[in-house]
C-alpha cells in the first residue's frame, strides 16, 4: 500500500492538472498588440479619447461591463489579426439585457461601432468570435463630447 502511494499521488496530480488545464490555456493570447492597433484606429478618428481596453481570448469570447454616460458619444474599435477585424464582433446590452448596438450588422463584421448613450447606467459588452479559429483579439473604447 505504501509502495503504491507515489503512483496515487501522481494520479491525483494528473487529475488536478487536467481540471486546471483549460484555465491555464487562456493565458496564451497576448492581446496587447491588438489593443495598440485599436488605439491607433481611435487616434485616426479625431476627437475620440481612449477610455478602456478589453482583451478577448478563448473560444467563448468575453463579457465586460461599463457605466456609459448619457449624452456621450462612444466608439468601440475592434482589432485582431485581420485587417478588418473579421471574426470578432461586439454586442452591447443595457441593464435589462436588451441589445442596443452591435458591430455585426446584416450578417457582416465591422471593425467599429459608434453610439450615443441615451441613459446613464451599467451596460454589458459581449465580445464574441464567429467563423474564425483565432480566438485572440481586443476592443478599445473611446469617447467624445
Amino acid at each position: 500500500m505504501i509502495k503504491r502511494l507515489p503512483f496515487q499521488l501522481i494520479r491525483v496530480c494528473l487529475l488536478i492538472s487536467a481540471l486546471l488545464l483549460p484555465e491555464l490555456m487562456f493565458g496564451q493570447c497576448d492581446s496587447q498588440v491588438f489593443t495598440d492597433k485599436g488605439i491607433r484606429e481611435l487616434n485616426k478618428q479625431g476627437g475620440y479619447t481612449y477610455l478602456k481596453s478589453y482583451p478577448v481570448s478563448g473560444e467563448n469570447g468575453k463579457k465586460y461591463s461599463y457605466i456609459f454616460s448619457q449624452g456621450t458619444n462612444y466608439m468601440i474599435a475592434l482589432a485582431n489579426r485581420e485587417s478588418d477585424a473579421k471574426g470578432i464582433f461586439i454586442t452591447i446590452f443595457d441593464s435589462n439585457k436588451k441589445e442596443i448596438a452591435t458591430s455585426r450588422a446584416d450578417g457582416k463584421f465591422y471593425p467599429a461601432v459608434s453610439f450615443t448613450c441615451k441613459r446613464t447606467g451599467i451596460y454589458y459588452l459581449q465580445f464574441s468570435f464567429d467563423n474564425t479559429r483565432e480566438f485572440c483579439a481586443a476592443g478599445v473604447l473611446g469617447m467624445r463630447r
Binding site: 481611435l42 478618428q45 481596453s53 448619457q70 465591422y110 441615451k118
Partner: protein, 292 residues
C-alpha cells in the same frame, strides 16, 4: 482492495473538485475586481466635463503632493494612491504650470515604491506621453499600469489594496465634481454627481468583502452612510431602444453608427439640491479622514 480503490477514486474526485472550487473562487474574486476596474468610468469622463463647464484649474481642491509623507500604512497609501491618480487625471486635462504634473508623478512614484509596485508603472513611457501631449497614449499607459497593480495585489493576497485603490480614485472624482459644482453650479455636473449612485452600487459590495480590521470597517461604514444619501436619488433606467443604424466610412474604417440622440432635457434622474449638498458634505468628511 476494490473498496480501497473506490475510496481512492472518491478522494481524487473530491480533491479535484475542491481544487477547482478554490481556484474558481479565487478566479471569481479576481474577475470581480478586474471587472470593476473595467466597469468604473475613466476619471477622464468627468474631468473633461469639468473642463467643458469653463471652470478654471484649481490646485486648492486636489490633495497636496507633499501630504504623501503622512501616510504610514498600506491602507492609507493605497487609498491615497487612488486619490492622487484621479488628481493627476484632473491635472492632465488642463494646461497647468509645468511644475505641477512632475510633482504629482514624483509623489505617485514614491508611494508606488513604498507599496513595492513601482516596477509595474512605466514612468518613462508615462512621462514621454505627457511631454508629447499624446493623451490617448497617456491614458492607455496609466490604465494598463493600474490593471497590472490590481493583478499584483490579488496575486500577492492583498486584494483589499485593489479595492482601496478603486475607492480612493472614485471618491476623489466625486469630491472634485462636488467642489466644482459648488463653486460654479451647473446642471450637467449635478447630474453627474447624482449618477455616481450607480457606481457606488457596484463599488460598495466589493469594498465590503474586505471590511476586516478597524480602519476598513470604519471606511465601509462611512461609504454605506454615503450610499444611504444616494438612495434619495431616483434614476429611471428603462429607455426606449432605437436600433436604427447606418454603415459609414470614416477614412478607411467602416463603422456601424447608431444615431440615437440622447434627450437634452429628460434624463430620468430625480433629486433635489439638498440631497446633493448632503452628498458633498459626506464626501468632504470621508476624504478628509483619508488625506489628513
Amino acid at each position: 482492495m476494490i473498496k480501497i480503490r473506490l475510496n481512492f477514486i472518491c478522494l481524487c474526485i473530491f480533491l479535484g473538485q475542491a481544487a477547482t472550487t478554490l481556484l474558481a473562487q479565487e478566479i471569481n474574486k479576481e474577475e470581480v475586481l478586474n471587472g470593476m476596474f473595467k466597469s468604473i468610468p475613466s476619471p477622464y469622463e468627468i474631468s473633461s466635463l469639468i473642463k467643458k463647464t469653463g471652470v478654471k484649474f484649481n490646485s486648492e481642491i486636489i490633495n497636496a503632493p507633499d501630504n504623501y509623507q503622512k501616510y504610514n500604512d498600506d491602507y492609507k497609501k493605497a487609498l491615497n494612491l487612488g486619490i492622487y491618480s484621479s488628481d493627476l487625471g484632473y491635472i492632465n486635462i488642463y494646461d497647468t504650470p509645468d511644475t505641477i504634473p512632475p510633482a504629482y508623478l514624483k509623489t505617485i512614484l514614491a508611494m508606488s515604491s513604498e507599496l513595492k509596485i513601482d516596477q509595474l508603472i512605466n514612468f518613462t513611457a508615462i512621462t514621454g506621453f505627457a511631454f508629447s501631449k499624446d493623451l490617448n497614449g497617456l491614458l492607455s499607459e496609466t490604465s494598463s499600469s493600474f490593471e497590472k497593480i490590481n493583478r499584483h495585489f490579488i496575486e500577492n493576497d492583498r486584494p483589499e489594496l485593489s479595492a482601496l485603490l478603486l475607492t480612493g480614485g472614485w471618491l476623489e472624482t466625486l469630491y472634485l465634481t462636488c467642489q466644482v459644482a459648488r463653486d460654479k453650479p451647473n446642471k450637467l455636473l449635478d447630474n453627474k454627481i447624482a449618477e455616481q449612485k450607480i457606481i457606488l452600487e457596484q463599488l460598495l459590495p466589493i469594498l465590503s468583502q474586505y471590511s476586516e480590521g478597524k480602519e476598513m470597517a470604519k471606511l465601509v461604514e462611512k461609504m454605506s452612510n454615503l450610499q444611504e444619501l444616494f438612495k434619495k436619488i431616483k434614476i429611471k433606467e428603462k429607455i426606449k431602444a432605437n436600433n436604427n443604424f447606418t454603415i459609414e466610412k470614416w477614412g478607411k474604417l467602416e463603422v456601424v453608427v447608431y444615431r440615437n440622440e440622447a434627450s437634452k432635457t429628460a434624463n430620468g434622474i430625480k433629486y433635489n439640491q439638498e440631497d446633493l449638498d448632503q452628498i458633498l458634505t459626506a464626501s468632504i468628511d470621508i476624504r478628509k479622514s483619508i488625506v489628513e
